[in-house]
């Protein structure tokens, strides 16, 4: 578990040249982020979260824009299957993900740089783990987050 330790903060600062955009939906995924906050769990400071009402509303151009503006990686986090606030939003998010995945591959980005995942409500630790794995993947290191 990552803790609020000066070393970790410093590590975060050192990584801050790398920008990671985490797009969460307003419901399960954001609740995960909020819980991580109230439980004082930390994650890399290179992470810049963006909350949207529903992950299915993100248009592919917005994700490409994040890469254009220098993001190292983009992680989309939504509600688990069957738990979407708007019923079809996370299915739509999967369609968007599939399309953008191909576009970013064409543009020459690595597979690790763009991912989609689900977070259940109030799962602060899961949020931190998923985001941590994503950031580790970007840095080319294995998951040593035990």
């Amino acid at each position: 578990m990552t803790t609020l330790h000066p070393d970790n903060i410093m590590e975060g600062k050192l990584q801050s040249s790398s920008k990671v955009i985490v797009i969460t939906c307003n419901w399960n995924a954001y609740s995960g982020l909020e819980t991580a906050g109230t439980e004082r769990l930390t994650y890399s400071s290179s992470v810049h979260p963006i909350k949207v009402m529903c992950l299915g509303q993100i248009s592919p151009g917005i994700i490409l824009k994040a890469f254009e503006k220098g993001a190292n990686g983009v992680l989309m986090l939504g509600c688990p299957p069957g738990e979407c606030q708007f019923e079809f939003g996370n299915r739509r998010a999967e369609e968007i993900y599939k399309e953008v995945k191909e576009l970013v591959a064409l543009l020459g980005y690595r597979e690790e740089q763009f991912k989609l995942d689900w977070i259940a409500a109030r799962e602060g630790q899961t949020f931190v783990d998923v985001v941590g794995n994503f950031v580790d993947g970007l840095n080319g290191s294995a998951n040593n987050d035990a």
Partner: protein
Amino acid sequence: MMPEMKEFIDQNRVWYCLDCGKCGAVCPITRYERRDFASPRLLIEKAIHGHTDDVMDDALFWSCLTCKRCSELCPSDVYFSEFLRDTRTLARSFDCSGDCTHSEMVQTWGKIMSDADQKQNRLNWLTDDLQVSEDSDTVYFVGCLPYYDTAFKKMDVEGVEIAQAAVRILNHLGIEPQVLADERCCGHDQLWEGDQETFRTLGQINIENLKESGAKKIITTCPECARTLKIDYPQFIENHGLEVLHLVEFLAAQEFNGDTHLKAAVTYQDACNLGRHLGVYDAPRQIMDDLGFELVEMSRTRNAALCCGTSCWTACGQVSKSIQVERLKEAKATGAETLVTSCIKCQIHFKCAQNDPILGDEIDIEIRDLTTLIADSLMEHG
């Protein structure tokens, strides 16, 4: 009046518009724009009065298709499309830009490609049966086809199929063209939307790569790539001295005996950049004739053809849709089975309009790119 504006007015001769207004009769935007009266003459009047803000707020300012239909009728040789191209650059300097319906997806991949260090992965469409080489004097310039193929997959557009067909046709003629792994978007949309900076960066990278290839001839399957590489690179960036042709121009100049007897009736959409911008009207028609297709022309054809309704992925909406529906109905009225075009963007825009479940049958006609049609005919008959 801003000095730049005065210069654009002068060099594009638009002062003649004050006494005219004829092209309002053919401009598709004038016809369908309902929010506001929009016409080339009115926009020029605002410009000449020195009201730069009003010009940039004009309903035609970002929605003009630069289709050049007005130029075909203009009695005074006014460069209206070029005037907008230039003033849009000015607008960009005030941080003003048109609305892109796809969240700037296309502009953004163009921007990403303008980073010289970006290494794309754009040649996956090259299947084993396609022969390319590294020292041919011909480069096949693919353009954004692999990207459109992905972004508009849901609409079943021919994207990489066009690229594959082009190489197949060239192979059939004994040519194994070069294709460049490092090719960039040509920058057409950036130029006509006023983003000169990105246009120039993309163009410089492309010119460098093309010169490095050692090729003498560039063949494209996109009319906008053809125009941009042939006219705009030399005018704005560098006179590269390479010959640039759309595939149909190249094929019309070849001994090309398709000798097929398909006898299917087709109709043809002149893409603005191939027709009015580059003056290529006969080549595609000759090829279709050679291949044995029966061409049934729409009522407005060649230099009077109606644009497919959207340009530069900007300002698409009710006006674009109305233009597309009108054109599809015109195609349908010919009784042809297939609407043939030689531009991927025409195909995307028309297919998008065809998604309309209510109009359904009224605008339902098969849409094909001439390149894939030629390849199919050749393969069928060896």
